[in-house]
């Protein structure tokens, strides 16, 4: 596994600029890359290196940095290696390059990113409604969307569970852990 990883790192670094890698135990390897080279690096991995399977496209909301981190997970059945390609885009103005010409099924993930996080994808096919029906307002998976306040305002609650404790507070009481400052805002 070590030789495979070292070989992959040297090949990627020879072909692309501004790539930083992070190694993990086991069959996982991360690359942080610029947004504009995403189609090129994924094509290179698929066509030249045998990473033919797109496992997932995921998104992490870095609210404090004002950025979204998009994670592409690809898998090679020959190397038995998971490669994570990570890139960051601006939260408000960022546009993601479309990769559905590399994998057709990427369209599903891109539509979900559009609907759940409000990320614009360049030339997205069928960019209309996907899973949510008649949704208006902030996309629900963004961290600044207050899901509890929305639920209180939209739905009825049956009385009797007002004394339910926040999980975080229960953990603090038990193990004397500190809540980080940025998380206090979201804690009940």
């Amino acid at each position: 596994m070590k030789e495979i990883k070292a070989d992959l790192i040297s090949k990627i670094k020879a072909s692309f600029d501004n790539v930083t890698e992070k190694d993990y135990d086991g069959n996982r390897l991360d690359f942080h890359v610029e947004t504009r080279i995403i189609p090129q690096i994924l094509t290179y991995l698929k066509v030249n290196l045998g990473y033919i399977h797109l496992s997932h496209i995921s998104c992490v909301d870095w609210l404090e940095d004002g950025e979204f981190e998009i994670v592409y997970i690809v898998w090679s059945p020959e190397d038995k290696l998971k490669v994570f390609i990570k890139t960051r885009i601006d939260r408000e103005t960022g546009v993601l390059p479309n990769i559905d010409m590399i994998w057709r099924q990427a369209n599903t993930y891109e539509r979900e990113l559009k609907e759940m996080f409000g990320i614009e994808v360049d030339g997205l096919v069928a960019a209309d409604e996907f899973l949510l029906e008649d949704w208006e307002g902030l996309p629900p998976m963004r961290r600044d969307f207050d899901t509890e306040a929305y639920a209180d305002e939209t739905f009825w609650h049956r009385p009797g569970r007002e004394d339910a404790m926040d999980v975080r507070e229960a953990i603090i009481e038990r193990s004397r852990e500190e809540i980080p400052d940025f998380a206090k805002k979201y804690s009940r």
């Binding site: 899973l131 029906e133 008649d134 969307f145 899901t147 639920a151 739905f155 609650h157 049956r158 009797g160």
Partner: protein, 182 residues
């Protein structure tokens, strides 16, 4: 003679007795709770010995089981299904999610209190309720039917505006719901 009080009583008794021993459950799973239905119906717990069986379409069914959480998207379909069912019809709320939201109490997409939208005859508590609890719930429903107290369908007809108003508040005005005609 049918207006005679005593013969009406006897007719009701026979009617309810027949109804309680032939409960056809609509095979419609809304949430994770549907996974408890196969063991309830098959050989180990064998709900059929109590007269509880699966039905293929809403028009053939007597009981609508709401198995777990209901998203706003599913709610529209469930209400259409309920309105298509023919009398006598009953609703069983299955699992904590139908009672007070359960673990989805702060979800943006699931309703918390089922009886705002549908007249629920029996609630089964648990997350998930085991087949024993499901059978106990059916037993309770049979008891209510025998006593003539399982009158959710009548409540739905009487308070139709109330139930539809609550639904409208959740789904907004964009989505078209067909009119309920008996």
């Amino acid at each position: 003679m049918i207006n005679d009080k005593n013969s009406q009583k006897i007719a009701d008794f026979i009617k309810n007795w027949a109804r309680k021993h032939s409960i056809w459950v609509l095979a419609y799973g809304t949430g994770c709770g549907a996974i408890e239905i196969p063991p309830t119906m098959t050989s180990r717990y064998d709900a059929e010995r109590l007269g509880v069986r699966g039905a293929a379409t809403p028009r053939q069914a007597d009981v609508l089981l709401i198995t777990g959480y209901l998203t706003t998207k599913t709610l529209k379909r469930v209400i259409r299904v309920y309105e298509q069912m023919q009398d006598p019809k009953y609703v069983i709320g299955f699992g904590s999610c139908t009672i007070n939201g359960g673990m989805y109490y702060d979800s943006y997409n699931t309703i918390k209190v089922l009886d705002k939208y549908l007249p629920v005859d029996v609630y089964i508590n648990g997350c998930m309720p085991r087949p024993e609890a499901v059978l106990a719930g059916f037993g309770k429903l049979q008891q209510l039917i025998a006593e003539g107290k399982a009158n959710g369908a009548q409540k739905y007809k009487d308070d139709h505006e109330y139930y539809r108003g609550n639904l409208r508040k959740i789904i907004g005005n964009k989505y078209e719901m067909p009119l309920y005609n008996w």
